[in-house]
């Protein structure tokens, strides 16, 4: 247990098919993926909606049987030792299961009881977790009075009641406003500092860049890339991206004129992305071609561009 590089989660040829066993018409959500998550690491699963992220998370949470392959968590098999594994996981599901019949504090207490913790331990821990989630003031309030961000923080506090070794977060900031997202990131970063292993799915590349030490990119049930955010950017993109926007009428003509000016050109519905090693030079070349964009922006390549390169699609489609 003291081995810091210990593998806590190991998936081999992991597959999830929805539908009856043996039924050929079943839907394959996860299509034979391999990955490892090590102790203390913040591991991200990046992908568009429907890529298989949530199915993967549910299998890891031991509430969804593995169709094929093996999934071992803390050395145990998810099929046989589900209860033992769940006892040491903290789960923050996409659809939160906060109980609106109970108050904020009661949600922590009652959830903790499911783990067989004593009331004495729970009173102490819930006070500490409410503090952590910045919800102490709201302790006695009905859950209905919480904002989206507070509700999510309560879900995270609740997931920590059993002092889990691994915390699973399925799209933790989806639907939150920017301020609430930043507060949540700050809290998750604190958890990471405390040595908790985090496994999170997201379709926000800034979230992945902020929080993840290492990540995999999923597309159509498969892992298409793996590495640290910096590695992925270095491996799959050029250094910079030139973003151009055009007036609707002349868009097509302008795009044609830009061909050949950059190694990769991606057409998005609202803008044109030119991957290049030097954005300013490319912009000069664009101007020399007589192209007149409405706006032009040079920026560093990001995970968004990695995703676009790998899948040909934008993350937020």
């Amino acid at each position: 247990m003291s081995d810091v590089s210990a593998v806590l989660i190991e998936a081999r040829g992991l597959k999830k098919v929805y539908g009856r066993p043996g039924d050929k018409t079943g839907f394959t959500a996860v299509d034979g993926i391999d990955f490892q998550v090590r102790r203390g690491e913040a591991f991200g699963v990046l992908g568009a909606n429907g890529a298989g992220k949530s199915s993967t998370m549910r299998m890891i949470a031991c509430v969804s049987p593995v169709t094929e392959g093996s999934l071992r968590i803390l050395g145990w098999d998810t099929g046989r030792d589900g209860a033992r594994i769940r006892a040491r996981l903290g789960v923050v599901p996409q659809d939160d299961t906060i109980d609106s019949e109970l108050t904020v504090r009661e949600n922590l207490l009652i959830y903790g009881r499911y783990f067989g913790l004593s009331w004495k331990v729970l009173r102490e821990r819930s006070a500490r977790l409410l503090e952590f989630a910045r919800l102490t003031e709201k302790a006695g309030d009905a859950v209905a009075t919480l904002s989206g961000g507070m509700r999510r923080r309560l879900t995270i506090a609740r997931a920590l009641i059993n002092e889990p070794e691994i915390v699973l977060l399925d799209e933790p900031t989806t639907g939150l406003d920017p301020q609430a997202r930043h507060l949540l990131w700050e809290r998750l970063f604190q958890l990471k500092q405390d040595g908790v292993t985090l496994l999170l799915t997201t379709h926000y590349m800034d979230e992945a860049e902020q929080l993840c030490d290492r990540l995999v990119v999923m597309d159509a049930g498969k892992i298409v890339a793996e590495g640290t955010p910096a590695e992925l950017i270095a491996r799959h993109t050029l250094r910079e991206v030139l973003e151009l926007r055009f007036a609707p009428g002349e868009r097509q003509v302008m795009i044609e004129k830009c061909r050949g000016l950059a190694e990769r050109i991606e057409e998005l519905p609202d803008r044109l992305l030119l991957s290049t090693d030097n954005g300013e030079e490319t912009l000069s070349a664009v101007h020399r071609q007589g192209v007149q964009p409405l706006t032009a922006l040079v920026r560093r390549s990001s995970l968004e561009d990695v995703f676009l390169t790998l899948t040909g699609r934008s993350l937020l489609d």
Partner: protein
Amino acid sequence: MDTLARAFSAPAFRELGYWLFRYRRTWRGSIVISVGNPLLFLTALGLGLGKLVDHGNSAYLQGHSYLTFILPGILIAGVMQTAFLEASGPVMQGALPRGSYRAAASTPLEPAGILYGHLMYWTLRAAQNAVLFTCVSMLFGTVDPARAPLLVLVAILVAVAFASPAAAWAVTVTRPSQINAMFRFVVLPLYMFSGTFFPIEQLPDWLRRLAWLTPLWHGVDLGRTVALGTATTSGVLVHLAYLAVMVAAGLYVARRTYRRRLYV
């Protein structure tokens, strides 16, 4: 024995704890209903309809007043109705994506533990209702205190016999309208035609045979014969066997439907 042993294992008690915790908010109202319900029946039937019926001096009542005859039936039918309602709506809600069952399923609890914990809660609620109802009835002299404990036990058995299959079904349901339909087209007709309000002996032959098959009649007849002291060994055994099969079959199916629904 395996089923019984698991029912008393700790995880199920954690689920029971959840429902009892929630019940803290509504217990006062539920007590008022449990006491008020028999009071209404005692008044309406004892002072109203009962006078009319007793005037007819029906041989089907075997010398009992209509009120004495009908009270065990009202209790058992009411217990069935409550068991159905508590084991359908809340179960469906619990199994929805944001439901309480989902929260419990992400902890060490297994679907069977969730089922047994909730079942214990229904059992306790039925016991509470039956005890209060019977006590109020005893105060009015309509239930013999010596036989009252047996009547309460029958009521609890009926609650479990109906709650188990109801939960087995409700956990697969996703729309409240399905539960309303089941209540209207199955539970209410049972309430009406299982000898709750009248002896089924006075029904036409074909309807009586149909009533014999209904699960509620077995509960009502068991409760009534026990309360009135007219029970026969063979009758009791048939009723008990029928209700026991409902419990066993209900739990057998529920264990599977719970697992299938919570572990997708």
